[in-house]
Symmetry: C2
Subunit: 397 residues, 2 copies
């Protein structure tokens, strides 16, 4: 049978990264392509204890159906946690929705706000998982180039002026995936003002905000929001566990009422046991100490990678020093064929993600590749850098 797929899905391809990861499941390949939290970052003992307590205390509540909005105690805990990390983020007219990972928050926002052909703006490059969720509603997806301190604001305004039905701006202001760039406070203000002027919803995705290991905190765009323009998406994937699939959305109640309906259609509710684990973790764990520990782990891993890469590739690559998150974005010199370099690296035993995977328009030129420092062991970080240096020397001798 020849299947007639919907317009929205027929041209959509699986995430290049997840495909690369499937092909590099070989444990001998050094996983610079992944984005997994470091195994040392998982609070294993705490989760094990919490599971035991929850199942001992009230097992039926852990296993029964629950409400689409999310476990009430976790909704409160998410809002309190977000407000403690980002003073001023939660407004009185806001509500919180528990979602099955930040990915679902992004998908639901697009489902509720985007008609086919409407324009969505985003940083270019950006997180391919989010771009695919947005693409799956068949929008006019327009990428705005990045500068060292975040999105190019002049080009953003141009795009808001010149595109039809600009409905949404998708941003990762902290330690952006894939570039590692953090948007400056000035740009956040300017971007917010533009969104207000042009009536555009900002979808603020902040998966890495708590993983700052250098520099100074920059407040979330949501803290500037007086109009209910910002839909804020948080997640426990990077600070508790990604496999539990628990995230949250904080947004104006009027907008939230439709997100809840879409959530109900999507999966009824997020797994309740997993919600309870996150709630108990937030309530019983010293979160400041826990986050400091994660920051220490990632500071060390990022330093190790940066130092090893600098030694191995010298001045042949350019990169930004990230202040947090999980990634470094390396750019090859002109004349080196980026896809060929990535293929050669994979053959030499190091999987990196070709930067083109993150572009809004897949054919655009790209000289960069993404390296993740959270998944590899310390030995893999130094070995991988050495191998990439060797591969690069073959390309530029």
């Amino acid at each position: 049978m020849n299947y007639n797929f919907s317009h929205r899905i027929s041209s959509l391809q699986p995430s290049a990264i997840r495909e690369i990861l499937k092909n590099t499941a070989d444990p001998h390949v050094i996983p610079f392509a992944a984005g997994n939290p470091s195994p040392e970052a998982f609070p294993v003992k705490e989760i094990e204890n919490i599971l035991g307590i929850l199942m001992g205390d009230n097992p039926i509540a852990c296993l029964q159906y629950s409400v689409s909005e999310g476990y009430p105690a976790l909704r409160d805990a998410c809002a309190s946690f977000a407000a403690s990390r980002e003073p001023g983020l939660v407004h009185e007219e806001d509500a919180t929705l528990v979602v099955s990972g930040a990915q679902q928050g992004i998908e639901l926002a697009a489902k509720c706000l985007i008609n086919e052909g409407d324009t969505i703006l985003c940083e270019d490059p950006s997180f391919v998982g989010a771009l695919n969720a947005l693409r799956s509603f068949n929008p006019n997806l327009v990428g705005i180039p990045m500068e060292k301190d975040g999105i190019d604001v002049a080009k953003l305004e141009e795009a808001m002026k010149s595109n039809p039905n600009v409905r949404m701006l998708y941003l990762i202001p902290n330690f952006q995936n894939p570039t590692g760039i953090t948007m400056s406070a000035e740009k956040r203000q300017a971007v917010y003002e533009l969104a207000k002027r042009y009536g555009v919803i900002i979808l603020e995705d902040n998966p890495y905000g708590d993983l700052r290991f250098d520099g100074k905190h920059v407040p979330a765009i949501k803290t500037l929001d007086t109009e209910g323009l910002v839909v804020y998406v948080g997640t426990f994937s990077k600070i508790i566990s990604p496999g539990l699939r628990v995230g949250y959305v904080i947004a104006n109640k009027a907008l939230m009422s439709k997100l809840v309906v879409a959530k109900q259609c999507s999966d009824v509710h997020t797994a309740i046991l997993n919600q309870m684990v996150c709630e108990r973790f937030l309530a019983s764990c010293n979160m400041n100490a826990h986050l400091s520990n994660l920051q220490r782990i990632y500071r060390a891993k990022s330093s190790l990678l940066l130092k090893a890469m600098e030694e191995a590739v010298g001045d042949k690559l350019t990169w930004n020093q990230p202040e947090g998150g999980l990634f470094v974005w390396y750019t090859l010199p002109d004349g080196v064929d980026m896809p060929q370099f990535c293929t050669a690296a994979a053959q030499a035993g190091v999987a990196v993600v070709p930067g083109s995977a993150f572009l809004t328009r897949l054919g655009d030129p790209c000289q960069s590749f993404r390296v993740n420092f959270s998944t590899p062991t310390n030995k893999q970080l130094t070995d991988g850098a050495e191998i990439l240096g060797r591969v690069l020397r073959d390309f530029i001798r």
Copy 2:
């Protein structure tokens, strides 16, 4: 701010049932409106043990990111389980996708196959959660009346002929929600032949198939499928736990490749710990004995309700004796105002679902209401029936 919602979501209302349930969270209200498995049906000890073993053996694997297709061992286990319950259901050219509950399987199928305005056919009445997931892609949703042995086949063919772009037929062939009706083997064959003739995908939702407590098994429509026309959705919600949110889709590989892309956009993957729990449960539990126990529980509860209602309402209501599932569909005599009856019942302390909530077209006349027998305790079943009898006598004296 005035939000511009997408066409697909702007007219969609939350599920009437979930709203009723929220308003009847009062423990003094008898929950005939719910659809929760009975607390006695949960394999609490087994799940508790499995969680301990999994977290002890390989906690990082329980908590780390996983693949969008689903935990490979669970995919295999789902296919084996489905094939053991429904010989001939799994074909060589099929693949299995793990989803976050059957609800997500329905939503993903619609997302991949339905453009705005395409026709989806369904039984009328039908499960409002599924109808809302289908509605959330703005289709032409057309209900086909039910007969005692399932959908009206003549009207189904008429609808296939007369509607534009008929792409999908949504069916719950076993112990349908809300009517409790099981489609006969003859009708399954006839429906499949029609779908083949008109090139319509059948979305076969089978949440209750393993809860048959009376009568003879009727093979799934998917077992008849030689063309890759049937997308089969199964779930562990009714036989292990709904709160874990684990279900599965079995369909032709060519169709599955797009469902996997849509799944990736939706929530990356289903919570891996929850998948592992279901896999271990299927592997370590005597499933025949477990299912027999569930059937015994629901046979007893259904008998108790039917007997108590018969005593309380005598011949004033009509109903079908269900052979499985969780629901009985009661129809009021002409002249009794159904919504008023349901309101009076709620005021008297028994929440039932007005049948109109399950209609394709919300304004259509309806004299029925749905009663669930799995959630109430045995005492609530007899007390609730007595109260409904008393309320009814006020309406027809």
